[in-house]
C-alpha cells in the first residue's frame, strides 16, 4: 500500500477491464463487446489529484464509475484503502459509500426533478449523518455558499436553474458527507471560467484542509494542468501515458499526448492564427473492434511497422513516468545509481 517514497496509495487499480456486451440479430444473441476499459492500471496516492484525460468515448467515465463499484468489473481489481472493492458486501458498501463520492458528468440526469435543492443536497445527510433540523439546514447553506449558489435558491427545483448552476448542486451534494475520495467526472465542463475557477479553488482548499483525494476526469487540459499532481492519458480503453503534471505538459512523450496538447485552442485571436497543430487523420477505431497492435496505430503520425503487429506494453520510461509506445525503451534503474 506504500510506495518506496513512503506515500500511501489510497486507490490501486490493476488491469481493470469493463466490457459491455453487444447483442445482435433477431435472437438478440451476444455478438461482441464494447471494450470501454480494457486493461488499465494506475495508483492514486492519498491527498493527490490524478487527472484523467482523453478523447470522448475513450472510457474515462466508465473507469471512474468502475472504481466506485457502480458496475461489476469484467476483470482486474480495484483496492481502496487496502481492501478489494469486489469483496465488499452490500452492507459494507453502504458503510463506505459516504467516504467515496462521484460528481456526475450529466448534471440533469443525476438530480431528482421532484426534490428541491435543499432536499437534494441534504439527502445524504439524512441517510448517513445524525443531525438536528437546524444543523442540517446550516450544513446545506454552508455547502451552497461553498459552491457559489445563492442561499435564497434553496427551495427551487433543478429545472429552475441554469446548466452551470445545476452542476454546482451536484458538487455540493457530493461534498455533504466530507468524503475522502471523490471521482469528479467533468465537474466544471458546464461552468463559466470564473465559476470554474471558484469550484477548482474550492476543491483545492478542501484538499489542503481535509486531505481529500481526487480522480479528476476532464477534457479541459488547461484546468487539469492547474489542478492535477499527476496526469493519466487514455486512448480507446487504455492508459497510454502517465506522468507528473510538469513532465507531461513540458515534454509529452506519447504521440497521442503530443497531438492532444497541440490542439488546445488559444484564448486570444491574435495567437490563434499562428498556432501549430498536429491534426490527427485516419479512422477513429471503435472500442468494439480495436485495431491489431497498438490502439493508436490507425491515426499515429509516427506509426512504425511494429505498431501494427504488437500492442506496446505500458512501461516505465523515466522515473515516475510510464508510456505505452514502441518509440521508447524501458528505463534502466541501473543508470540512475551510476549517476
Amino acid at each position: 500500500m506504500f510506495d518506496a517514497g513512503g506515500k500511501k496509495k489510497l486507490v490501486e487499480v490493476t488491469n481493470l477491464k469493463m466490457h459491455f456486451p453487444i447483442f445482435g440479430g433477431i435472437m438478440r444473441r451476444h455478438v461482441g463487446d464494447v471494450k470501454a476499459v480494457d486493461g488499465v492500471s494506475f495508483d492514486i496516492y492519498e491527498g493527490e489529484t490524478l487527472g484523467l484525460v482523453g478523447e470522448s468515448g475513450c472510457g474515462k467515465s466508465t473507469c471512474g464509475r468502475a472504481i466506485l463499484r457502480l458496475y461489476e468489473l469484467t476483470d482486474g481489481s480495484v483496492r481502496i484503502d487496502g481492501t478489494d472493492i469486489a469483496s465488499w458486501s452490500p452492507e459494507e458498501l453502504r458503510q463506505v459509500r459516504p467516504t467515496m463520492q462521484m460528481v456526475f458528468q450529466d448534471p440533469q440526469a443525476s438530480l431528482n426533478p421532484r426534490m428541491t435543492v435543499a432536499a437534494i443536497i441534504g439527502e445524504p445527510l439524512d441517510e448517513h449523518a445524525k443531525s438536528s433540523k437546524a444543523e442540517r439546514l446550516d450544513r446545506i447553506y454552508e455547502l451552497m455558499d461553498a459552491v457559489g449558489l445563492n442561499r435564497d435558491f434553496a427551495n427551487r427545483y433543478p429545472h429552475e436553474f441554469s446548466g452551470g448552476q445545476r452542476q454546482r448542486i451536484g458538487i455540493a451534494r457530493a461534498l455533504a458527507l466530507n468524503p475522502k475520495f471523490i471521482v469528479c467526472d467533468e465537474p466544471i465542463a458546464a461552468l463559466d471560467v470564473s465559476i470554474q475557477a471558484q469550484v477548482v479553488n474550492l476543491l483545492e482548499d478542501l484538499q489542503d484542509k481535509l486531505g481529500l483525494t481526487y480522480l479528476f476526469i476532464s477534457h479541459d487540459l488547461s484546468m487539469v494542468r492547474h489542478i492535477a499532481d499527476r496526469v493519466a492519458v487514455m486512448y480507446l480503453g487504455k492508459v497510454v501515458e502517465l506522468a507528473s503534471r510538469d513532465q507531461l505538459y513540458n515534454d509529452p512523450k506519447h504521440p497521442y499526448t503530443q497531438a492532444l496538447l497541440s490542439a488546445v485552442p488559444e484564448p486570444d485571436p491574435a495567437i490563434e492564427d499562428t498556432g501549430e497543430r498536429i491534426i490527427l487523420t485516419g479512422d477513429v477505431p471503435s472500442p468494439a473492434n480495436p485495431p491489431k497492435g497498438c490502439n493508436f496505430c490507425t491515426r499515429c503520425p509516427k506509426v512504425m511497422d511494429i505498431c501494427r503487429r504488437e500492442d506496446p506494453v505500458f512501461k516505465t520510461v523515466e522515473k515516475g513516468r510510464q508510456v505505452a509506445c514502441h518509440l521508447y525503451e524501458a528505463y534502466q534503474p541501473a543508470e540512475e545509481t551510476a549517476a
Binding site: 440526469a109 452551470g164 461552468l191
Partner: protein, 334 residues
C-alpha cells in the same frame, strides 16, 4: 460574410420572465442582437446570465407557464416568431432553425434508438424514405466523428458516452441543413481533437450553405478561434458586443475585462491560484433599476447605483453598457 447584408435573424428588446412560487425571475431583460448570413456570433457570459433562456425564448421552446415572453420581436424572414403559432414554430424549428441543447440527456429521448431520432426529422422535414434517411443518418454520425456508425445507429442514448451524446445532438441539429443554427454549449463534453473536428465541420457548412450560427460557450479559446462577433451577457442583459479581435484586444465593460483575466492556459506560466470574480451574481427578482454588475464592479460610481446603463457605441460595431470609461478612468460622456 458581406458587410451590410440583411440579417437572417433579428431580435429586438426581448424580455422573458419566470413566475415561480417565490416570485418573478427576470431572466432576460431587453436583449437585442442580429445575425447575418454565414456569420458566427459567439455568446459568452456568466452562468445563469440568461444565455440559454434567451435562445429558447426566440423559438418558443420555453413552457409557459412558468415562462412568459413579455416583450420584444424576433424577426426571421418576414415573420415575427413571437407571434407565430405552434405549428409554424414546430416546422421552423426542425428544418430552418437547428437547435443544439445544453443538456443532451434531456433532449434525447431515452426510449428511442439514436438512429430513430436522427431519421425522424429527415423523414418529416426532408421527405426522405426510410432507406434514404438511414443512409443519411449514418453519414451524419460519421461527420461528427462517431466510429462504427452503422452499428451505433441501433444503440440507445445511455449506451453512448457524454461526448458522443453531444455529437448526436449536433448531428440532429444539422440534419436538415438549417439556415440558422443555435448551439448552446455544444462542445462542453468534447475533447480538443474532436472539438477541432466539429469546428472544422461548422466552418465548412457556413461556407457551403451560408449557415448562420449562434454559438454559446464559456470557452473563450473556442470563441477566439471561430467567432466573427461576440456578445457578452451578465444578469440577463447584453453588457458588451464587439467583433472578436476587438473584444479580446480592447474590452470595455468591467465584467468582460474581469472574465478575460480568469482564463488559465496550457502554455506559459501556471498560477498557484486561479483568479475569480469576487461576489455573487444578481438575484434577478425584479426589473433591474441599476447596473446588474455594480455589486462586484471595481469601478463602481454613484450613478451605477441609480441607473441601469444602456448600450452605447464605443467604437465601430462595438458597444458596451457601462458608465465607466477605461481610458480616462472617469465617467463616460453619455
Amino acid at each position: 460574410m458581406p458587410d451590410g447584408a440583411l440579417p437572417v435573424l433579428e431580435v429586438k428588446n426581448l424580455k422573458t420572465v419566470f413566475r415561480t412560487r417565490q416570485g418573478e425571475v427576470h431572466a432576460v431583460n431587453s436583449v437585442s442582437f442580429d445575425l447575418k448570413p454565414g456569420e458566427l456570433l459567439g455568446v459568452v457570459g456568466e452562468s445563469g446570465s440568461g444565455k440559454s433562456v434567451t435562445m429558447m425564448s426566440l423559438i418558443g421552446l420555453l413552457p409557459s407557464p412558468p415562462a412568459e415572453v413579455r416583450n420584444g420581436q424576433v424577426l426571421f424572414g418576414d415573420r415575427d416568431l413571437l407571434q407565430a403559432d405552434d405549428d409554424t414554430l414546430r416546422s421552423i424549428r426542425g428544418a430552418r432553425i437547428g437547435f443544439i441543447f445544453q443538456d443532451p440527456m434531456t433532449s434525447l429521448n431515452p426510449v428511442f434508438t439514436v438512429g430513430f431520432q436522427l431519421m425522424e426529422p429527415l423523414r418529416k422535414h426532408m421527405g426522405m424514405s426510410k432507406a434514404q434517411a438511414r443512409k443519411r443518418a449514418k453519414e451524419l454520425l460519421e461527420l461528427v466523428g462517431i466510429p462504427d456508425a452503422a452499428q451505433r445507429l441501433k444503440d440507445f442514448p445511455h449506451q453512448f458516452s457524454g461526448g458522443m451524446r453531444q455529437r448526436v445532438m449536433i448531428a440532429i441539429a444539422l440534419a436538415c441543413d438549417p439556415q440558422v443554427l443555435i448551439a448552446d454549449e455544444p462542445t462542453t463534453a468534447l475533447d480538443v481533437t474532436i472539438q477541432a473536428q466539429i469546428l472544422e465541420l461548422v466552418k465548412e457548412l457556413r461556407q457551403k450553405l451560408g449557415m448562420a450560427i449562434v454559438w454559446i460557450t464559456h470557452d473563450l479559446g473556442v470563441i477566439a478561434g471561430i467567432a466573427d462577433r461576440v456578445i457578452v451577457m451578465y444578469g440577463g442583459q447584453i453588457v458588451e458586443h464587439a467583433p472578436v479581435r476587438e473584444l479580446f484586444g480592447n474590452p470595455q465593460h468591467p465584467y468582460t475585462r474581469a472574465l478575460l483575466q480568469t482564463i488559465p492556459t496550457v502554455h506559459g506560466g501556471r498560477a498557484e491560484r486561479l483568479r475569480v470574480i469576487d461576489g455573487q451574481p444578481p438575484m434577478l427578482g425584479a426589473q433591474p433599476a441599476a447596473c446588474p454588475f455594480r455589486a462586484r464592479c471595481t469601478h463602481r460610481m454613484d450613478r451605477c447605483n441609480r441607473e441601469n446603463p444602456m448600450r452605447v457605441a464605443v467604437g465601430p460595431d462595438h458597444d458596451a453598457a457601462c458608465f465607466w470609461h477605461p481610458e480616462t478612468g472617469g465617467e463616460r460622456d453619455v
